[in-house]
């Protein structure tokens, strides 16, 4: 590779996220694509035309049928994910599931705004070459091989998690660095490889599950704790949560780091090093050639630093300003400065905003919210719990494993952590009370799974953001998510028998 080619590779302006990359599919993916349409239709028709089950509204039935169709299509991808989202939104309205005002209003949700603003800020890091500098420094220090490179990202995400609760913010901060590092390892949006799959999916995992290590890691964690306090009468403190679950999150991350490149997406020895001629020396030379920080870089760092500062200090805003600047508004302030003439850095055309992603997100959120609003999600959860038919003589550990597994795998159909928490945690507390178990022993470990939203691009905000890179398919995400979620269930079950017992959280045998 010539020096010119290396510079081209690191020029992320050439790999715009707003441009959709079309590529050849594997045989399995082609079959899924071919069968996805009729299978989706068949499942939809079966669910829609069956008699409305007891306890479910006709609207709820239409929503479940439409969402099932969309889920099959998002996974099989017979049509692009954003087209599936549009189909879902249309079905919700035309089948009288959710009204058009609600469905179309989703595009104005804070999560969509955060995505748009996050991509503007991400473009700052790319245009000013700040992302290139950080990534080159990271690779020169740790990136001589894929293992230490992946480990450096684990540590990076672990450090950011307690500082910046907003997962989307963490995703957007680290995304440009991932893109450059991926490119150095030969994984570009136009030509992804298994290093890229590991890099992006491992970061997706880190961004999400390190939030589960801290009580303040997400709003949903706090909602779960409010339920535990109000319904079970037990207050859980920051350190209780952290001591119990941070080791589990770190262990899960370690397991993922081990099995990712060896089992899930095997990295051949030949691909395990930077894919550039001249190797590390060329990268060191590239970094050296960048010299000191340019004024544009400094300006970019200042703007991004301001936004990060606001994200990190959100708990002090009330004290300082008398109101809180949330993650969206902090990003908006950054975007305003970025786009100001003369003062700013970007022109509107230079902001790389993948609008197809916004449509995809809007559809996913509309489906998820409609499931919740109609009571259909709660109905499904109730049916599942009833199907287990727990008697009063059931053992605590049977219920524990089922509750953890249900809570963990439920993220494949819920598109919002908050909704999942609001529906499931009170249910689990009431179930524990009815069976005569300590509600905290079931509800708190269940709450530890809230942030394990790793299975699909629709499962959480950072998932959608990372999916735009084109570095992995929905099927890759699903495979990674199922394996890691299963590992999570095993780890939390083992912890229930051991670590949580030591902490007095779960009962003795």
């Amino acid at each position: 590779m010539t020096e010119r080619a290396l510079e081209d590779l690191l020029d992320l302006d050439r790999h715009k996220l707003s441009v959709e990359h079309k590529r050849k599919a594997t045989a399995t993916e082609r079959w899924m694509k071919y069968l996805g349409v009729p299978v989706g239709f068949a499942v939809f028709l079966m669910l829609y035309y069956m008699p409305t089950p007891a306890g479910l509204t006709a609207g709820g039935q239409a929503i479940i049928a439409s969402f099932a169709l969309a889920l099959i299509w998002w996974i099989a991808e017979p049509v692009p994910t954003y087209v599936t989202s549009l189909v879902l939104m249309t079905l919700l309205i035309f089948l009288d599931g959710w009204d058009s005002k609600n469905v179309l209003g989703v595009l104005g949700f804070d999560v969509i705004w955060l995505n748009v603003l996050a991509f503007i800020l991400s473009s700052v890091l790319i245009k000013t070459n700040l992302a290139k500098r950080i990534a080159l420094s990271l690779v020169v220090r740790f990136g001589y091989s894929v293992r230490p490179m992946l480990l450096s990202f684990v540590l990076l995400q672990l450090c950011l998690a307690p500082l910046i609760p907003a997962t989307a913010a963490r995703a957007v901060m680290t995304l440009p660095i991932m893109l450059v590092v991926g490119a150095i390892y030969g994984a570009t949006p136009g030509q992804p490889n298994n290093v890229g799959r590991n890099l992006f999916l491992q970061n997706l995992l880190g961004i999400n599950i390190f939030s589960s290590g801290f009580m303040t890691g997400s709003t949903a964690n706090l909602i779960a704790l409010a339920f535990i306090a109000n319904m079970a009468g037990t207050k859980v403190y920051y350190t209780d949560w952290m001591f119990a679950n941070l080791p589990i999150a770190m262990l899960a991350m370690f397991v993922a780091w081990i099995i990712g490149p060896t089992l899930l997406f095997r990295v051949r020895p030949a691909d395990a090093h930077p894919q550039i001629s001249g190797g590390m020396n060329a990268l060191q030379e590239q970094l050296r050639k960048m010299g000191g920080m340019s004024p544009q870089e400094k300006k970019g760092a200042l703007i991004f630093g301001l936004v990060v500062f606001l994200w990190v200090t959100d708990r002090f805003h009330m004290q300082w300003f008398g109101f809180e600047i949330d993650a969206v508004m902090a990003a908006m302030i950054g975007a305003i400065i970025t786009l100001l003439p003369k003062i700013g850095i970007l022109k509107w055309n230079e902001a790389d905003i993948p609008w197809h992603l916004m449509i995809f997100s809007a559809g996913a959120y509309a489906g998820g919210l409609a499931l919740n609003d109609s009571g259909a999600a709660a109905w499904v959860v109730r049916k599942i719990f009833v199907a287990f038919n727990f008697g009063t003589d059931v053992s605590f550990w049977t219920v524990y494993v089922i509750v953890i597994a249900l809570m963990m795998y439920s993220h494949f159909v819920f598109t919002s952590k908050t909704m999942r928490t609001i529906i499931l945690i009170p249910f689990i507390i009431v179930l524990a009370q009815q069976l005569g178990f300590n509600p905290v022993a079931l509800a708190l470990p269940a709450a530890f799974t809230i942030d394990w939203v790793i299975g699909l691009p629709i499962s959480a905000k950072p998932n959608v953001i990372l999916f735009t890179t084109g570095q992995y398919s929905v099927l890759d995400n699903l495979k990674y998510g199922i394996v890691i979620a299963t590992i999570g269930v095993i780890l939390l079950t083992v912890a229930g028998f051991t670590w949580f017992r030591v902490l007095g959280l779960t009962p003795a045998f």
């Binding site: 959709e20 990359h21 079309k22 590529r23 050849k24 599919a25 594997t26 045989a27 993916e29 082609r30 079959w31 694509k33 071919y34 349409v37 009729p38 239709f41 068949a42 939809f44 028709l45 829609y48 035309y49 008699p51 409305t52 007891a54 306890g55 479910l56 509204t57 006709a58 609207g59 709820g60 991808e77 692009p80 994910t81 009288d96 030509q191 992804p192 490889n193 298994n194 799959r197 909602i223 109000n230 997406f265 095997r266 051949r268 109609s374 009571g375 709660a378 109905w379 609001i422 529906i423 009170p426 999916f467 890179t469 084109g470 570095q471 992995y472 398919s473 929905v474 099927l475 890759d476």
Partner: protein, 243 residues
């Protein structure tokens, strides 16, 4: 003289309050709607009432053409006071035993006067308000739709479902194959109420979608076989066979 009356009234009120605080009153109202607009209303009460006293319940629907107390009650009748209707029940009261009265209301709901919106939906509202001074400890109101109708969605309810109290105060019912809703609340004092507003529509679904999608699925399998060819376009991020 006036002072004596006031003291006498206050003593009576306090005595009444003492009785009602110790007493319980649970009311379950089931309304089975018919396509004609008539409804069968069944009131089941569980109440502790002092011997020889009558139980007065609020009645907020139109006039019934028949009132049929079951054999646990000695008498049931409607009474009008200050323009408000009350159902008066007498029985040899026993707090453990549920009492039931059935009322037929010929013009309960005017289906034809209800505005039909998109998809043939009509909005139905059921309200219960306690217009008596006696507190109702628990209230449950069921509204069962005529055969062939389904509940499309619940629009609103009192009490409301909130994030702080996520357990819905209402549920969707199925009673002998008929769809309906149920609202529950507790501790209804004078003037307090329960409300549920919901949309419903005929259950029958047009077969057009069924036929169209079966046809579309079949045509897709016939004419899109080239998707299986290696040079067909894959999903955006799905390339490079995994090693």
């Amino acid at each position: 003289m006036v002072a004596r009356r006031l003291i006498y009234s206050a003593v009576l009120l306090m005595a009444g309050a003492a009785v009602s605080a110790a007493d319980t009153l649970d009311v379950h109202e089931q309304i089975v709607l018919h396509e004609s607009g008539a409804a069968d209303v069944t009131l089941t009460v569980l109440a502790s009432v002092p011997p020889g006293r009558e139980l007065v319940l609020p009645w907020s629907h139109s006039m019934p053409d028949s009132i049929r107390p079951d054999d646990t009650l000695t008498h049931a009748a409607l009474r009008v006071e200050h323009g408000l209707h009350f159902l008066v029940l007498t029985a040899p009261w026993d707090a453990e035993r549920p009492r039931r009265v059935r009322l037929s209301v010929p013009s309960f709901i005017g289906w034809s006067s209800l505005k039909r919106t998109a998809f043939g939906n009509v909005t139905v509202e059921h309200t219960f308000r306690n217009t008596t001074s006696r507190r109702i400890d628990r209230y449950r109101g069921d509204v069962i739709l005529p055969e062939g109708y389904v509940v499309t969605s619940v629009v609103s309810s009192i009490p409301e479902q909130t994030e702080k109290d996520p357990v819905a105060p209402y549920e969707i019912l199925e009673d002998s194959g008929r769809s309906g809703v149920s609202i529950r609340t507790a501790k209804l004092g004078l003037g307090d109420g329960a409300l549920i507003t919901f949309r419903c529509k005929p259950a029958a679904k047009s077969p057009i979608l069924l036929v169209a999608l079966i046809l579309a699925g079949t045509l897709y399998l016939m004419f899109f076989r080239d998707v299986l060819k290696e040079n067909g376009n894959g999903p955006p991020a799905a390339q490079n066979a995994q090693s």
